[in-house]
């Protein structure tokens, strides 16, 4: 047991943060190796967690290995703090580690995420933990693990561009919108987990440490702070992020990633910030979106 962990925490049934100390050491070693080789997928002995695969078992193990009693945890799912996955993982760490939790991006020291990077720029000292379903960017092009490992080792990434070529041939543009492949520190091609490609530029030269955990596939990889992350593209079809016609209907924010919400069965819909914390912050500061203005006028 590490010395900073209080032994009288009243959690007799669990070790601090659920995993036993030997497991945490093993995972920390994998994390250190991943940080030393940016973008490289480090195998690790993934454990059974009290939740099904696909619910973030990889991210939870990474978070459990790095969290300390003084950390402040934020968990988001598709940008939202209040969806099932986020709520249950947050409750899990409150129970097994008794740590402080928050929904404010700026206050958190560890942010575990599924599918989004917060809109607010992350700063030094923060750690972003991604839940990854399929860590291998080449998987759907080359099914053999022995072959994909060799391709990574020998830096044979032509196949990744074959996929992008196909996109342009069939759709006239690169139609991949999420899990958009990136090259990390000029060496390894990496799958940024199913985040929208809108978030890819946020990974580039980020001040925060970014850790990726894939529980079922038993891989950990990382982007250390201040690391070059380049989205793959063609010279005549450069990488672009999604653009939205309208600002957020609730807070009026522009240049953020929006979710479409169906309002009724007559075709009514609105586009709102996918990052709930960012949206709430802006509304507290007095920003009012189109739909919120109508609502307030009606009241």
């Amino acid at each position: 047991m590490s010395p900073e962990v209080p032994s009288d925490s009243g959690l007799a049934a669990y070790n601090f943060a659920y995993l036993d100390e030997q497991t945490k050491r093993m995972i920390r070693r994998a994390i250190l190796k991943a940080i030393a080789i940016p973008g490289y997928q480090v195998p690790f002995a993934s454990r059974e967690m009290p939740m099904p695969y696909g619910w973030g078992t990889g991210g939870v193990q990474v978070t459990a290995s790095i969290i300390g009693p003084d950390d402040i945890l934020k968990v988001i799912d598709q940008g939202a703090d209040d969806t099932t996955n986020a709520v249950s993982i947050r409750a899990f760490f409150q129970k097994v580690a008794n740590v402080a939790v928050t929904t404010h991006t700026g206050d958190a020291t560890i942010i575990q995420t599924r599918h989004r990077i917060p809109e607010q720029t992350l700063s030094e000292g923060q750690v972003l933990v991604y839940q990854v379903p399929i860590p291998e960017p080449l998987r759907f092009l080359e099914p053999r693990e022995t072959e994909t490992r060799k391709m990574h080792a020998l830096e044979e990434y032509g196949l990744m561009h074959v996929k992008l070529y196909e996109d342009i041939a069939y759709n006239g543009r690169i139609s991949k919108t999420y899990a958009y492949p990136v090259k990390v520190a000029g060496r390894y091609v990496m799958d940024p987990s199913p985040t929208p490609k809108f978030d890819n530029p946020k990974m580039h030269m980020s001040e925060a440490l970014q850790l990726f955990g894939a529980g079922r596939e038993k891989r950990i990889y990382a982007i250390p702070p201040h690391t070059e992350v380049v989205s793959l593209d063609f010279e005549d079809h450069p990488f672009e992020i999604q653009r939205f016609d309208k600002p957020c209907a609730m807070c009026g924010a522009e240049n953020v990633y929006l979710d479409e919400v169906i309002l009724d069965d007559k075709g009514g819909r609105m586009f709102v910030c996918s990052d709930t914390d960012h949206c709430e912050d802006r509304r507290e500061q007095g920003h009012v979106g189109e739909l919120l203005a109508i609502q307030e006028a009606a009241e």
Binding site: G158, V162, E166, A169, E235
Partner: protein, 258 residues
Amino acid sequence: MNDTPLLKVSAVSKFYGQRIGCKEVSFDLWPGEVLAIVGESGSGKTTLLNCISTRLMPTAGSVEYTMRDGTVRDLYHMSEAERRFLMRTDWGFVHQNPADGLRMTVSAGANVGERLMAVGDRHYGNIRATASDWLSRVEIGVDRIDDAPRAFSGGMRQRLQIARNLVTGPRLVFMDEPTGGLDVSVQARLLDLVRGLVNDLGLSAIIVTHDLAVARLLSHRMMVMKDGYVIEQGLTDRVLDDPREPYTQLLVSSILQV
């Protein structure tokens, strides 16, 4: 340049346990030369081809290749990265079954473009232009560029495989029964195409075939294999018109005459 052979094979042997795959095969291949390896099934033709093309590690012997810069390298003393790079730039490998050599799930254009992207071409327009140029050179309609090879006939697939291999301008192409499984009229067109390309591009080629007509049409020189040994080699016309070994005589006389 012509004073060193492109490929120098010295005493290559491959054993599968106690069984002989091929034994003590030596030959030189010169730039621009087409060599046919003929023999019956199980005579070690494909084993030999795989040993030469680094797809299979030989038990003994060495294979030396003259690189583009003129240096002579032993293939089995190169790093795996160098070997794989050589295979996708300076070499081509045409499989008997096109499904082994093609990516069946991606379009014809991407199949041809893959090698270009693998060596660092990052301009979509150029890749596509080169791909459509190569498709027309192997007589595939340019309007089929976005079709997957699954939608192609056997002959078209084989031609696509050839285009995919030749796009990086290789100097040496290995072919394993390139006309196997094709009907005679399609075979004739394919042979005509390959002969034209080999002449135009000045390629060297090693062709494994059991079909003596293929050897006669394409190759300058041929080797006859039996039970893992090379029993006779020489100029194609000499071997076919004046076979010396009893087995070769048997092989030549067993061609069906129509």
